[in-house]
Symmetry: C2
Subunit: 218 residues, 2 copies
C-alpha cells in the first residue's frame, strides 16, 4: 500500500540532484538574479550557470525567458500572500475586542509585513521591478497586489466602522505604509546599520499608526 502512495520515480534520465527538483534549483537561482539585476540584464546562460545546469535545461523546465520570469514572481508573491492573508485574518478577529485591541492588531499586522520583507528582501526588489514594467504591471496588480490591498483596506474600513479609528482614505494609508516598508528594505540593502535601523523603523511605523488613529491603551 505504501508503494502505491509513494512518489515513484518517473522514467527517464535521473535528475542531477535528486534532493531538490531541478526546476526549484533553477527558479531559486533565477529569482536571486532577477531581483538583483532585472529581466534584461540577466542572461539565461547566467541563470543556467548559477543553477549548475545547461541553458537548454533551463528552457526545458521553464520554457521561454518571460515564463521563467513570471514563475519567479509567482513563487515569491504567493509566499507573501500566504503570510499576509493569515496575519490579516488574525487582525480581523481582534476587531470585536474594542478599539484598543483593534489598534494593537494593526501594529501586529504591519510588524508581520515588515518582518516578512526584511526576511525576504528579494520581494521588495521584484515588486519594484514589476511596478516599473507598465505592461506587466496591470496583470500582476490584479493577481497579487489588489487582493492584498483590498484585504488590508477592508480591514481598516471595518475597524473604522467598529469605531476603533477614523480613516477617510484607507487605500492611500495602506499604500504609503507598504512603500515606506519597501524603502526601509532598500535602505537596509544599501548598507544602513541593520539592527538599529530595524528597531527604529518599527518604532516609526507604530508612531505613524498612533498618530493617525491614536495609540492603544497604555
Amino acid at each position: 500500500m505504501a508503494a502505491m502512495t509513494m512518489p515513484r520515480r518517473r522514467p527517464g534520465r535521473p535528475r542531477r540532484d535528486e534532493s531538490r527538483p531541478t526546476r526549484e534549483v533553477v527558479l531559486t537561482a533565477a529569482t536571486a538574479l532577477f531581483a538583483e539585476r532585472g529581466f534584461d540584464a540577466v542572461g539565461l546562460r547566467e541563470v543556467a550557470a548559477a543553477a549548475g545546469v545547461d541553458v537548454a535545461t533551463v528552457a526545458h523546465h521553464t520554457g521561454t525567458k518571460a515564463a521563467l520570469y513570471d514563475a519567479c514572481f509567482a513563487r515569491v508573491f504567493a509566499a507573501e500572500r500566504e503570510v499576509l492573508t493569515e496575519a490579516a485574518a488574525q487582525a480581523r478577529s481582534a476587531l470585536d475586542a474594542g478599539p484598543d485591541a483593534a489598534r494593537r492588531a494593526l501594529h501586529d499586522l504591519v510588524d508581520v509585513f515588515v518582518d516578512f520583507l526584511e526576511d525576504r528582501p528579494e520581494t521588495t526588489a521584484l515588486w519594484l521591478r514589476r511596478w516599473l514594467e507598465p505592461q506587466r504591471h496591470a496583470e500582476l496588480d490584479q493577481r497579487y497586489a489588489e487582493p492584498l490591498y483590498r484585504l488590508v483596506t477592508e480591514l481598516l474600513t471595518a475597524a473604522a466602522a467598529a469605531g476603533a479609528l477614523v480613516e477617510p482614505t484607507p487605500h492611500i494609508t495602506v499604500r504609503s505604509l507598504v512603500w515606506a516598508a519597501h524603502g526601509h528594505v532598500v535602505a537596509l540593502a544599501a548598507g544602513a546599520p541593520g539592527a538599529r535601523e530595524r528597531r527604529e523603523f518599527r518604532v516609526f511605523v507604530h508612531r505613524f499608526l498612533d498618530g493617525l488613529y491614536g495609540p492603544p491603551a497604555p
Copy 2:
C-alpha cells in the same frame, strides 16, 4: 561690443535643429525611454530614432551608453535638487516664527515635493531604477540623495530643537515620506483616478504630519 558677448556659432557642420542643441534633444529622448523601460531594455538605435538622429551621433555627443544614462540622471536629479533646496530654505526661515509656523512650513515643503514628482513622474521612475542598481546606487546616493535627505533631516532636527515638534528618527520619517510619495506617483501612472487621488494624497500627507507632530493652529 555685443558681438563679443554673443554666443558665436562655432565652426563645423551646423546642427540639424539650431533651436535646440542636439545633445539636449538626445538627452530628453533618452530620459523618457530609460525612465519607461530601464537601461538594458533600451537600445541606442532606439534612442537615436526617438531623437531623430543616427546612432553614431548619439555616441558622438554622449560617449558610451553608460555615460548617456548617467547624463540623463544628472539632469533630472539636478532639477529636483534645485526645487527642493529652495523649498527647504524657505521652510527653514519659517522655523523662528514658532511651532505653528514651523509645522505649516513642513506642510508646504512636502507639497512642493509632491507637486514636483507629479509634474515630472520620470523622476520617480529613474530613482526607483537607481535604487535597484546596487553598484551605481552608492555613488548616486552620495551625489544627490544624501544631500537632499540631509537637508530635510536637519530641518526636522532644527524644528525639534526649536520645540516645534518631537522627532526621534528624522531620517526614517523623511525616507518614508519620500517613498510614500513615489508610491503615489506610481499609482497615478498605473491609472488611478487622477484629480481625486492627488487631492486625497495631500490630505493624507498632512494627516501624517499632524499625527506625528501635532497640527498647526486652526
